[in-house]
């Protein structure tokens, strides 16, 4: 493991990976419980449009992606709050517009599509010094805001109506979640790739939900599972020369399957004990 650290790019990837590994599940817990698991995916595709636009305009792609995703997240949240019934449809429209714009713009980029692809699939070798700085900066901002409004977020997620009546500014909190999700997507895409950003927000949380018996433990276990996935995935992908994002996500999926099966087996044995007792 330690010899990996001789490589500068590996140091950068590990640092960026650790940060992303905290960020994604923390925001993901709220998305899953609010039934918005797929918003990360939608914003990811919009981020790709932002990346290609940045590429064309000669702007730092992470910056252009951040701007585009934050604006889209605000739009999605505004429409969702007005017409909750159509939240799904609104997200789909943004999602496809994102891909469509990205396809058009990338067809206009004549040279060097290899680098664009590194955004899609995530890549550790292309993580630059400025990427790490951006990721670190945004992570601090997002975690700072999350820490500040954490208890309000939990209350709104649990019961939005009660929270609203108690005087919590629900609309502001919802807008904040949307913006933080957008920032998280922009931060994470360098490592896991646009196509799999959402996976790191969803799968470690899904695994944690199988094992945890309080909100606190759900959050902590999700971060632990996510960090294990990121670190194991990075090392594995380096050793076996596999795609980074895919390896990280498949590690998380493996943990999820383990957690799911262990819960089912526990439930099964409990149920059997139950029937024995009643016999």
């Amino acid at each position: 493991m330690f010899e990996l650290l001789q490589y500068d790019f590996m140091q950068r990837a590990l640092l960026a990976g650790i940060l992303v590994g905290i960020l994604c599940p923390v925001i993901g817990v709220f998305l899953i419980l609010r039934r918005q698991s797929l918003i990360g995916d939608g914003l990811g595709h919009i981020a790709f449009a932002g990346v290609t636009a940045g590429w064309l305009l000669g702007v730092y792609p992470v910056l252009s992606a951040t701007v585009v995703t934050v604006l889209s997240a605000l739009g999605i949240e505004e429409l969702r709050s007005r017409r909750p019934v159509f939240a799904d449809m609104v997200l789909a429209i943004f999602f496809y517009s994102g891909i469509a714009v990205a396809i058009i713009l990338s067809s206009m980029v004549k040279s060097n599509n290899v680098n664009l692809i590194s955004y899609l699939f995530g890549s550790i070798v292309t993580v630059s010094e400025s990427d790490v700085q951006t990721i670190a900066g945004l992570t601090v901002v997002v975690l700072g805001i999350l820490f500040f409004i954490f208890k309000e977020l939990v209350a709104v997620t649990f019961d939005e109506e009660a929270a609203r009546v108690s005087g919590i500014p629900v609309k502001k909190i919802n807008t904040m979640i949307a913006v933080l999700t957008a920032l998280t997507v922009s931060v994470s895409m360098r490592i896991v790739g646009i196509l799999l950003v959402s996976a790191l927000m969803v799968i470690p949380v899904a695994a944690s939900l199988q094992l945890s018996r309080s909100f606190r433990s759900t959050l902590i276990n999700a971060v632990i599972i996510s960090e294990i996935s990121v670190l194991a995935g990075l090392v594995l992908s380096f050793r076996a020369d596999l795609a980074t994002g895919g390896t990280i996500v498949m590690t998380a999926v493996t943990i999820f399957i383990g957690a799911f099966l262990s819960k089912q087996l526990n439930g099964f044995s409990l149920a059997r004990m139950g029937t024995h007792k009643s016999e």
Binding site: K151, D159, A162, I168, R213
Partner: protein
């Protein structure tokens, strides 16, 4: 001072189907008012109007003497919805849920302190759920969930509690138990309670006022007289308007 004043309020979800037309109701401080009435009569709607989750199409509502649009003292009001737990799989313990009641009173961005958690413990004991503090909220029975919802309301130390009773999953004994708990809180802490109830017979022993909601307020007054009203209604049904304006407060 009145806790709540509903003045000439009209409301409809769909323009063609008014739920209320120009209803009036005033409730004095320290009261325990039970709202009863058939399914779909508008009880939940009325409660949501009172806490500003719905806006009346006409008329005005005053909470603690202030028109709703200007009302700022939300820390003094707690609302418990008919369905308190939307997601049975929500990963939170009883203790964590009750602590959520302290979120708004503690102030935005502030951590909960030891005093907040002491209050959580105290209210868990008040509602008799202290042995369940580490249990997952979704694993409780309907009646237990309602107790937790009440504890979550109580930790906010409100002056007014508006409670929409759950229809399902609560047996008569548990229901009576909760009514008597609310009655003692109402008396001990002078907290005004406005509660939707689905058991007229039973709530009459605990509440000190009854409002019958049925497309309007068709009765408002003493629980004892309400029996009389029901008998009357079974015989010759009085015109709804005759009862709409009566106020003993």
């Amino acid at each position: 001072m009145n806790v709540l004043a509903i003045k000439e309020v009209s409301f409809s979800y769909l323009p063609s189907q008014p739920v209320f037309e120009q209803i009036n109701l005033t409730i004095g401080q320290g009261r325990f008012l039970a709202m009863v009435g058939p399914n779909g009569a508008g009880k939940s709607t009325l409660l949501k109007l009172c806490v500003g989750l719905l806006k009346p199409t006409a008329g005005r509502i005053e909470l603690l003497g202030t028109p709703l649009e200007q009302f700022k003292d939300w820390s003094k009001v707690v609302y418990i919805a008919q369905q308190t737990l939307r997601d049975r799989n929500f990963p939170a313990t009883v203790e964590e849920v009750v602590a959520m009641g302290r979120v708004a009173p503690a102030g935005i961005g502030n951590r909960l302190k030891k005093a907040d958690y002491d209050l959580v413990e105290e209210m868990l004991i008040t509602v008799g759920m202290q042995d369940f503090r580490k249990r997952m909220i979704g694993e409780l029975s309907g009646g237990q969930q309602q107790r937790v919802a009440i504890a979550k309301a109580l930790v906010a130390k409100p002056e007014v509690l508006l409670l929409d009773e759950a229809t399902s999953g609560v047996d008569t004994a548990t229901r009576e138990n909760i009514y008597s708990l609310l009655r003692s809180i109402n008396q001990a802490q002078r907290m005004s309670i406005i509660m939707v109830s689905h058991d007229v017979e039973c709530i009459s022993h605990y509440a000190d006022q009854i409002a019958n909601v049925d497309g309007g307020i068709t009765y408002y007054g003493d629980p004892a007289d309400f029996q009389q009203f029901c008998r009357l209604q079974r015989g010759s049904r009085p015109a709804q308007g005759d009862w709409g304006e009566i106020s003993y407060v």
